[in-house]
């Protein structure tokens, strides 16, 4: 007792170009025995909250679209609470979604609800946001970022996490609204490079 056993985190390795087989097998022709892809459907008929979709593409340093990436999102419910429901059950909102970027177009789309504000430990409120985790060929360690909402400028201006990002880079985290769809394009390099977080 009292000795702290310190192990080192398993080192990350790239998900590679065939991540679909293990994580979204129905997008690449494997399917069997996994007839549905985990995280493919985030909502049920009775999930409360404003229905939205999040769409975008991921661009590399040459401006080309990633067609082999995998994205997971994690978000609070409409009231700002993280679900305790078991993920992967149809019709239950767990707050977790997973999509590959389309093998032909590179587009991704999540159909979800707009999250509420999540409280910090000190009681301050974070602006509504969706956490993103991105893996792909050429990404050695999964990339974490957050999507904020362009129509939540007041909440964004008070969000303790958003404010830690240098002002000039904040627009890279803010999705523009187009009807019920928020467009969130992610840039891995270059002048428009998205802010990634060390969480």
């Amino acid at each position: 007792m009292g000795t702290k056993l310190r192990l080192r985190e398993s080192p990350s390795q790239t998900a590679g170009p065939y991540v679909h087989i293990g994580c979204v097998p129905n997008t690449c022709g494997v399917g069997r025995p996994f007839m549905t892809d985990l995280g493919a459907v985030m909502l049920g008929d009775k999930t409360p909250g404003e229905r939205i979709a999040v769409e975008g593409q991921i661009f590399d340093g040459a401006g080309d679209v990633l067609k082999d990436a995998l994205i997971e999102v994690w978000q609070a419910d409409h009231a700002g609470q993280y679900a305790t429901a078991t993920a992967g059950q149809p019709g239950v909102f767990s707050g977790w979604g997973r999509q590959a970027t389309d093998l032909d177009t590179g587009r991704f789309r999540f159909e979800t609800i707009k999250p509420g504000c999540v409280q910090c430990a000190d009681g301050r409120l974070q602006a509504p946001h969706i956490s993103f985790w991105i893996v792909a060929r050429g990404i050695n360690l999964g990339l974490n970022t957050r999507m904020y909402f362009s129509d939540e400028a007041q909440a964004n201006a008070k969000c303790p996490v958003f404010l830690q990002v240098e002002e000039q880079f904040r627009p890279t985290l803010t999705a523009e609204r187009n009807g019920d769809v928020y467009i969130f394009d992610i840039y891995l390099q270059g002048a428009k490079e998205t802010v990634f977080f060390d969480i």
Binding site: R8, G39, A87, G88, A121, N140, L188, E193, T194, F197
Partner: protein
């Protein structure tokens, strides 16, 4: 009992591979140029999806059988891969989802983008999933994947490997990695493996032959333990579970 971990220990980014490792060509256009912005964990990082044992089918962790016809089985050296998931504090991590995927024994993936000339195996899909038990343990039955060439550079070959995707209790623990096989001469030649800065890191991803778990006249076994990020809370705040 403690409700939620307050924070995960910050990730050791000297131990983890750098984003840009030019010998692995695909990183050149995909590695972010700016360092990631550090902030203290909130609930958005310390919580994460929970998966139930009831979503796992009986053959989900058996890649020898789970794609095969009723009288068929995957071709290749039969192996069991097993291990335990712990966190950096040495606590076992029960109830977390592990997904694996791999090439078949000829080095070919069942994926529409894989055009390698080696054949597909009609009885092998290459995907498996399981959830760790109360002791943090997991097991897969599979066939040993083959090495295969890839277009990174002239005559580049990947060592035999199995991809692992692991969830923790918090979204900040999410991890994808690859398991290699003890003694594979391609390991030191691979720029993906060599994206790791420390031989100890390569060693941690190298599964050991485990003759105690091998089954006579049936299959060999390899042991591969996984470590997820731990919390900053001390081990005394929870029941000690290491054994």
């Amino acid at each position: 009992m403690k409700a939620r971990p307050e924070q995960f220990q910050s990730r050791d980014r000297t131990w983890q591979p750098k984003a840009l490792t030019p010998a692995y060509k695909s990183t050149r256009l995909r590695a972010p140029g700016r360092p990631p912005v550090l902030f203290a964990n909130t609930l958005s990082e310390t919580t994460g999806p929970v998966f139930g044992h009831d979503m796992i089918g009986p053959q989900d962790n058996d890649l020898i059988c789970n794609y095969a016809s009723s009288d068929g089985a995957a071709i290749g050296p039969r192996i069991a891969v097993h291990g335990r998931v712990r966190d950096e504090n040495g606590r076992v991590v029960p109830g977390v989802l592990i997904e694996i995927w791999q090439a078949n024994s000829a080095g070919r993936y069942r994926h529409k983008n894989d055009t390698y000339l080696a054949p597909l195996d009609a009885n092998f899909g290459g995907a498996g999933r399981t959830i760790t038990d109360k002791k943090g343990c997991y097991t897969f039955q599979t066939v040993q994947p083959g090495p295969y060439p890839w277009p990174n550079s002239e005559n580049a070959w990947r060592p035999a490997h199995i991809h692992f995707s692991v969830f923790g209790s918090g979204f900040a623990q999410r991890l994808i990695t690859q398991m290699y096989f003890e003694g594979d001469p391609l390991i030191p030649l691979c720029p993906i493996v060599q994206s790791l800065n420390d031989p100890a890191a390569v060693n941690q991803l190298t599964a050991r032959l485990d003759m105690d778990t091998a089954i006579s006249m049936d299959r060999l076994a390899y042991r591969f333990d996984i470590v997820l990020r731990g919390t900053t809370s001390t081990p005394f705040e929870n029941r000690l579970e290491g054994n």
